[in-house]
């Protein structure tokens, strides 16, 4: 369920995080900058994506499947089909009833869907091939404030612990949520259930606050004084720099081409 880095020895997995982060962002950026209905270019972007998935020796289905979760949001763009610019064509359904739609609007709707699916897949690829700490190092290298990186790092560290805690809390509540044949209104009122959930949140937050105080004490006793040190990452190697530039260039060219094809 959680998209964390899967162990693998593929060249993509082994590549430096900075290269992967930059290329992923470039991919998403250039794709989204391409105009609507530039179908040939979308196909080429898909080609790049599929090639990357293969190079990373991952299952294409695995990546695509995750992408489909974006689909409900696509309905937000659905009205474009009808409110798009003229001309409006009519199609008849059920014989005499006629609906007017805008082919232009339909094109835009599909373009948005395609861009959404491709962009999400690119992001999934990044997460599956790069560990979160490595992504943080890449972000630090690119100038994200150290303080913020430290917060994210600590959050990552405690995420799984606290997540397990919440799972146990939900199990415990489920175990006490039962039904007997002799009663009628089961489950209490909606308000009560919401309040109970709220209590659980409050309890979780309180214990997390206390945990953070203990953590602070532990950090202090190890000499922490507020100064943040991040390990200086090595400069990118020649090959890595070349891959990075070539990749960005290629994606940029695709975008350039799209300006002629789309509208």
């Amino acid at each position: 369920m959680w998209q964390v880095r899967m162990e693998s020895n593929s060249p993509v997995h082994r590549a430096d995080a900075r290269v992967k982060v930059t290329l992923t962002l470039a991919f998403i950026l250039f794709l989204n900058m391409a105009p609507h209905q530039a179908w040939p270019i979308y196909i080429l972007f898909l080609t790049v994506l599929l090639s990357m998935i293969l190079l990373a020796r991952m299952s294409i289905w695995r990546v695509i499947r995750r992408t489909l979760l974006v689909t409900p949001f696509i309905l937000a763009a659905f009205p474009l089909i009808f409110s798009g610019p003229v001309p409006h064509l009519s199609i008849s359904i059920f014989g005499s009833d006629v609906i007017k739609y805008s082919p232009e609007g339909l094109g835009r709707f599909i373009s948005i869907a395609v861009k959404a699916w491709l962009s999400t897949s690119a992001a999934i690829m990044l997460t599956l091939t790069t560990s979160f700490p490595d992504i943080l190092t890449a972000l630090a290298y690119y100038g994200v404030p150290k303080l913020f990186i430290a917060i994210l790092g600590l959050m990552w560290r405690y995420l799984f612990i606290i997540n397990d805690e919440v799972l146990r809390m939900m199990r415990a509540r489920d175990s006490r949520s039962a039904v007997t044949p002799c009663t009628q209104q089961v489950g209490g009122s909606l308000f009560w259930r919401a309040r109970v959930t709220g209590s659980m949140v409050g309890s979780l937050l309180l214990r997390s606050l206390e945990r953070s105080v203990r953590l602070y004490a532990a950090m202090l006793s190890r000499g922490y004084n507020g100064e943040l040190f991040t390990l200086e990452a090595n400069a990118l190697s020649h090959t890595e720099r070349r891959i990075l530039s070539l990749g960005v260039l290629l994606l940029g060219v695709l975008w350039g081409m799209s300006l002629f094809i789309g509208d």
């Binding site: 998209q3 080609t47 974006v70 937000a76 959404a116 999400t120 002629f260």
Partner: protein, 325 residues
């Protein structure tokens, strides 16, 4: 039809592809500015405590979003957490905590895109926090004498954070030309009026719990007394602007003027490019169907070549391994 987003766990996290480049960049810039200010402010008030505090709380809010209560049938109410974070930690720390949550959601769950991340951060970590702060502060000063004052203020602040954030989200979609304003705004707003009630109730429950367990957490955060007038004003302005602007915007059947202008601008740019580069450099362009087929064939060839190359490389490796025994 518009209730479909409700089926996804997070109807407010905009994926990539839905926002125009211009809108994405603008909101990235705004979010970055606010984050930088927040980092400075927490440095002043919290000092070395800030990293453990915000790191652990961000993890707690992220995990806490899993806690749900069933509404009807298959739907359930969830927490976003902007309001409770603001009340517990004060606005600036809450901005950083919620930003962290939104970022990790985008990376781990693909809840929200990477290009659209700036806008999502703005909606949930900036608007959500500022508006909660403003509403909570106003109401708690107003109802200071009442014993239920805090709970009421918390409920409305939480509801407001969700509702106003959803308006902001709808406006971003409308400005990008993805959804017509006269549909997006009422739809998003309408759904979130209900979702906000869930947030309000959960926040209420959390506050009630905390009030009994550790009252001082809720009063001596002291940020109500500290001059966060900036946020108070900012939050109130945002809330008012969005709530007033939205009905106005949604009465425009074509969405907003700006959208038309954006498309026009791109058209002009492209005209200029066409004149620069003659047609024969890019053959087949005049026939888009041909270009699409050509791209499809080219793409398939490339993908199969890569697949072949990878398979051969793997065979060599396994052969090498078996030879070495």
């Amino acid at each position: 039809m518009f209730f479909a987003p409700v089926l996804s766990r997070h109807p407010m996290h905009i994926p990539d592809g839905f926002l125009s480049l211009l809108v994405s960049i603008i909101f990235w810039m705004i979010s970055i500015i606010v984050i930088r200010i927040a980092l400075r402010k927490t440095n002043q008030t919290l000092d070395e405590r800030q990293v453990p505090l915000m790191g652990v709380l961000a993890a707690a809010i992220f995990a806490g979003q899993m806690l749900n209560f069933s509404v009807t049938g298959g739907t359930s109410g969830h927490l976003l957490g902007a309001a409770i974070a603001t009340i517990l930690l004060g606005p600036w720390a809450a901005v950083l905590v919620m930003t962290s949550v939104v970022i990790v959601q985008a990376l781990l769950f693909q809840d929200g895109g990477l290009l659209a991340l700036g806008a999502n951060i703005f909606n949930m970590a900036v608007v959500g926090v500022f508006v909660s702060y403003a509403i909570y502060t106003w109401l708690i000063t107003l109802f200071r004498k009442q014993s239920w004052g805090m709970l009421f203020a918390g409920f409305v602040a939480a509801w407001g954070s969700i509702f106003v954030a959803s308006l902001s989200c709808a406006l971003q979609l409308a400005l990008s030309g993805t959804s017509p304003a006269n549909i997006a705004i009422p739809a998003m707003g309408g759904i979130h009026v209900l979702i906000g009630i869930g947030e309000g109730l959960i926040t209420l429950g959390a506050l009630a719990f905390l009030f009994v367990a550790q009252k001082d957490l809720l009063t001596t955060q002291g940020n109500i007394k500290i001059t966060n007038k900036g946020i108070l004003i900012g939050g109130s302005v945002i809330a008012l602007m969005l709530t007033v602007l939205s009905p106005l915007a949604s009465s425009h059947p074509d969405g907003l003027e700006w959208v038309a202008e954006q498309h026009g601008f791109l058209e002009n740019a492209r005209e200029a490019l066409y004149e620069f580069i003659p047609d024969y450099v890019m053959p087949g362009i005049s026939n888009p169907a041909l270009a699409t087929i050509a791209a499809g064939i080219l793409g398939a060839i490339i993908v199969f070549s890569v697949a072949y190359g990878v398979a051969r490389a793997e065979k060599r490796v396994t052969k090498g391994k078996s030879l070495r025994g």
